[in-house]
């Protein structure tokens, strides 16, 4: 890809990442939430790989890092679920943090934490899938 495409993608991908964080954090106030925000997060990284070519980075190393982040995020999600079992209302998925006022950013108990964990997990897993497919392509036709 030419130098114009590479520079524009480097500038834009930071804005896309920031927009993804905005959608994840406001998941309990506006439409969006964990899944949609996570796809934006991974889109920022995938745009950089597409623009700069796949020979620039050490792809197996990046894929292993993304896979470990995905596993950690979902493990923290399940531990939060189980923490609802021991604190508060003694049910799984229980809402045990204070709930606050309607319409503010820090409110609705434990739901923003769930959104953040799901967002990190979806972003990391899409990045892992994309990097795995690029590694397969390199094995077939270098």
């Amino acid at each position: 890809m030419s130098i114009i495409v590479k520079k524009v993608c480097q500038l834009i991908s930071g804005i896309i990442f920031l927009y993804g964080i905005y959608i994840i954090l406001h998941g309990h106030l506006t439409p969006g939430g964990g899944f949609a925000g996570g796809i934006f997060l991974s889109g920022a990284f995938i745009l950089l790989v597409l623009a700069n070519g796949s020979h620039v980075m050490n792809l197996r190393h990046e894929e292993e890092k993304a896979s470990v982040i995905e596993g950690l995020a979902i493990l923290i999600f399940v531990l939060l679920t189980a923490a609802g079992f021991f604190i508060g209302a003694r049910v799984f998925f229980g809402n045990f943090l204070p709930k606050g006022h309607l319409g503010e950013l820090i409110s609705a108990g434990v739901i923003p934490l769930y959104n953040i964990m799901v967002g990190i997990e979806v972003g990391a897993s899409l990045l892992t899938i994309f990097l795995a497919l690029v590694i397969y392509k390199e094995e077939i036709s270098p």
Binding site: S67, V68, G71, L72, I74, L75, V78, L79, T81, A82, F85, A89, R90, V91, F92, F93, G94, N95
Partner: protein, 510 residues
Amino acid sequence: MENIVPLFVIVPLTAVFLMLIIGRFVRGFSKVLSVFLFAFLVALSLFYIFRGDHISQVYQVGGWKDSGNIPIAIYLLLDPLNVFVLFIINLMALFSTIYSVNYITRYTGENYYYTLFGIMIAGLNGVVIAGDLFNLYVFLEITVIASYALVAFGTAREELEASFKYQVLGGIATTLILFSIGMIYWYTKTLNMPDISRILETSEDLKLVQFCQLMLIAGFGLKAAIMPFHGWLPDAHSSAPAPVSAMLSGVVIKAAGLYVIFRLFFNMFQLTYEISVLITAIGTLSMVVGVFLAIGQWDLKRLLAYHSISQMGYVIIGAGMGMMILSVNGNKLIASLAITGGLFHMVNHAVFKGLLFLNAGAVEYRLGTRDLNKMGGLYEKMPFTSSSSLSASLAISGIPPFNGFFSKLLIIIAAVQAKYYVLATLAVIVSIITLASFMKFQRYAFYNHKSHHGNIKEVPFLMVFSMVSMAVLCLALSLLLIPEIRNFILQPAVDILMGRNEYLINLLNQ
């Protein structure tokens, strides 16, 4: 007591994600954790069987109580029918994992195998305990996607092609199931299974509900591999690694296919005569055509896979006869006998078909081939494999005192008493042809004196342990027909399927 219900899903998921992170750095962590995980789940289901007092437990996720009379939470149910199927799922998973500690060492990526296996079992447990339609769909998808990856695990040519065929057909079935769930939601405005049952009981008879029933039979029938939808089964079950084949053919096509059909058609929809006749006709077709396609096979695992289709036909005939009798308000005792035969045969088939696939895997582990023409005379060299294979073959053909005899006998007696003489005759003929086919299998694989294989020893100890335990279980399961044990385990399960009012009263007044 009702807090143990979500543990069936949350404990496997936690263990799987621990395996994914820690198993990368510590070798052998996944194997030990898997064995302990399935032993814990078996103990949990036995705890409910013996201490649960046969009351259906309901767990509302998140603690959302009913508002007015409308259930708004996600329900997870545990009643005597569920726990019976859960016990068999987790027991077969335990034996398959013990077997695969030695078998999987010849593939790379062992850590991923145990992870995918754990995800499949977590999804199967979720399908069985789900109390509303959409969670059933989500857990079904988790199970099926993990099984696509497990079928393609060795990445040889045949395995990839079989997995691709399985995936495309499974994807179409998933689309049909989701469309049908959408239609039911549009008509009844709720997704909760007891609530839909209550609404459909008091509404008029509409062609829309019949359309949804037909599409659900098509979608779940493809997951259960009954006759017009069986095209993926011989390829997928014969190309997968042996413990995965045992799990797929022994447990997945029952828990994710037949169990859901029984739960939906007995407990959620109203029973009509036309749908019952359709289900029985499909069962008869699978039973007869499956065994005729199986006789001419020379590949060992394809033979076993075609026999799976035929035995699934037996289970569907048992339940279909019960449905036909109940829909015209006939004799309830004969219906109860037929449904007992069907459920008992479902459990028996899980054990002996799993054992047969593990034996085929053991033979392939030592000889490297699956062609029946190239084997022979393994009786002296592999005594444990051949004797457990002999007991499984006798069980599937229906020879007393193994468990297959009793379950087929119940189905045939129920067919004769309800005056369906054609079904009884076909069942007996298919059983005789099954016996002939398995005698051919035993003779060519083990008792033919053509031993020119060099020095072959018996398979390692852990594989022998799981095969011999399952052979003992084949004999022990026929004890389920003694009246005291039957009233404790089998009869409450059949009562849940037959009695709709107890199901509703127990669950909606929590």
